[in-house]
Amino acid sequence: MTPQAEWLRGTLLALALVMTGPVLADNKPDDGKVTNFLLDNGMEVVVIPDHRAPIVTHMVWYKIGSADEPPGKSGIAHFFEHLMFKATTNHAAGAFDRAVSAIGGSNNAFTSYDYTAFYETVVPQALEQMMDFEADRMRNLILNDNVIATERDVILEERRSRIDSNPQAVLGEEVDATLWQNQPYRIPVIGWMQEMEKLNRADAKAFYDKYYTPNNAVLVVAGDVDPEVVKALAEKTYGKIARGPDLPPRVRPVEPEQNTRRTVTLTDARVSVPNFSTQWVVPSYHTAKPGEAEALDLLAEILGGGSRSRLYQQLVVKQGIAAEAGAFFQGTMLDATNFTVYGAPRGDAKLADVQAAVEAEVARIAKDGVTSGELEKAKDRFVRSMIFARDKQDSMANIYGATLATGGSVRDVEEWPGRIRKVTADEVRDVAARYLNLNHSTSGYLLPQTQAGN
């Protein structure tokens, strides 16, 4: 266990709210049976009962993320998330926050490529009030120029703080823009600065009217609630909202065939230990053929998932050349996604040595596959994580919400452990061989200024 050596993985992974694979629902006979249904206006509802604590997590997921933005309007999805906290025709600005705070609840929101979600964690008695507020802001927001200008300054500061102040983040943005040549994941969720500066009221209004409708939303309620009660409350609140225009299917540009090896390099005075990552375009749970995404999850775990993984054991422990080395796969995405390996040198080792050793492990796993022992241990860890990873109830809500917002179903979540168990060693080798071709990869290098010539 390395107390201080998680910095690279941390910066590469960033906010991993919903990136891990889906997790099994609670199997207790009287608890955890997930129900889902549609309201008449098309809003989907998922209820995850969990009676261990008188707490409920109430989330609304909109199937709209940065990858759905119109050209030239990057950042509008995230900007709009911020604007949802402003005044409505029924409530003054801040009234919702004050109502949550007054009962000791917590609330927040987040935006990703494929979805935007809003949530409150409160006592169950407050569920109806939360639904009232949330339903209200789905349609009744007041968008005026003053509100827009001030909040735009906030997101510009957010960009300076998250991206522009951080060389790893600056590099990450441009690696993404290189890995993705055509697919909208090439554009950062927060947006490009020069486009963010021009986002205006008309953009916000158009975005709101098109996407913030009940038929484009998923309500997820997890906690100490009865599904029948949730249904009645949802009908009473969200059910009153008129269905919006039907949205076209979320068909976005996809990647052309990649025929090159691409590299992106940032040298920066703030960097003193170099690092690299190499990424490939791979299928997500939504786009993969049956079993492929599960095999990719297991591949990432065996290759570089933790301190028992091949990359860690070979590079950090046995060869002693890396401070860190690992791999990850982000499966819960609507379109094709990325598989990433990364590493940083330690001591006298050079970045090139670390990269060569990582690539040797990638080549070895693609050629010789994994042992049955490795595969079983990786599966055990995933299955065990379902007992451990019933986290707080909001992580269950996150798993269902993210899955449903990226084209999956409740059943997909529930059947995930069984599908993981079925993956064979050959299937893991096959996905490695099929997708991890170094000649068709994208690498990012973060280098100290003194190494600029290397």
Binding site: A53, P54, F85, G104, D176, S272, V273
Partner: protein
Amino acid sequence: MRNQLSGASASPLVRDFPSSTRREGRAARVATPLVTLFLSLLFLVLPALSARAAMSIQEVTSSKGITAWLVEDYSVPLVAIRFVFDGGTTQDPAGKEGLANLMSGLFDEGAGNLDSEAFQIKLDDVGAEMSFEASRDGTYGSMRMLAEQRDSAFDLLRLAVTEPRFDQAPIDRIRAQVLSGIIANELDPDTVAQRKWLEALYGTHPYARPDQGTRQSIATITAGDLIAFHKANFARDGLHVAVVGAIDAETLKKKLDMVFGGLPEHQALAPVADVDPKLNQQIEVNYDQPQTSLQLAYPGVKRSAPDFFAAVLMNEILGGSAFTSRLFNEVREKRGLAYSASSDLVDYQHANALAIATATRADRAAETLAVVREVVRRMAQEGPTEAELAATKKYLIGAYAINNLNSSGAIAATLLELQLDKLGIDYMQRRAALINAVTLDQVKAAAKKLLSAEPAIMIVGPKVGEAEKE
């Protein structure tokens, strides 16, 4: 929750930084783990709710005199244990800074007759998660285990705690990783500035030292240093334990003796002086970067002070974790000056402070600092309104369960902090009344006391003059 600044894929952007470190009292030291438990204890702090089934905290004392607080619960087949030995990084000898941190990385790197590889394979087979962490005032350990593998897991924990091997190869490897982290941050403006900030506030006190040490200090650490440090710190009279999950009191007593009974009885800690952070100073760190970050330090309040909750309520209104605070409203909502603006009560065993932090574009840094100082000045002079106080009392009472008791790990961490703060096993029943008893005058007095001082201020960013010329 990780909130690294990164452009990595699939990272949702959140509305505001999560406030996991803004719990009342000590800053949260726990990476909140998994597994929700049934928490009917909530009815104690939320009297409006009907009681479901009482969750009781038991005090368990083993035959060797080791005490633990236990919440026995079988709704999930898990056991979570969390414990701390007093001491922590303040016990690092001068010149050996980083010793406690390095030791905390070595407990799963070989113990008893198992070398590093054998130990980690066994831990993986048993399916338990074990972690150690050195904080300023204590070395924390925790383990989550499947109930059916409980015996094997506790055996491994006993080995780790009582018989760590400190073999040279893992020492060198973990040290090299720590060193890499130190070097990686050497040119990072925030890290450099943070170090200057701690030195300015705490001078030569151990709180000024970097927890992971320096290039020079960690190079000098030997196996002998680790063995001596372990012996001096891992002893029964400085141990506090909390356990949550599928285990009964009688079984736990036996496990406590088994895991910790082999440790020496008495710690041999170096005394650590109390220290008042040095206020009334201004530190400027010039870097050409897109934002200027501002930090301000005011006097804090001790956990044991009679006006503790008055100060907690005041801080919450000033810049607490809800989106309703004055700083959030004045700096972000009204003026769009920053993404984040907050205040925190820093509560170490030997020092206290109220810390404010925000970051803004360089050419608006002066304006932002003026707004922050005006918010503080107004709070110091006028205090909060009756309505703000009433709302914040409700928030603090209700938020305790939602934030502190929402998983077995969180419950264990909370029980441990209650023991460290000597608040008593019935504290949760008393807490709401303690908060409700605070008067507006007391909060005004706390505001005046903490916020009238001239603060320490650190400004990190481009030279003021240069930024304004742009």
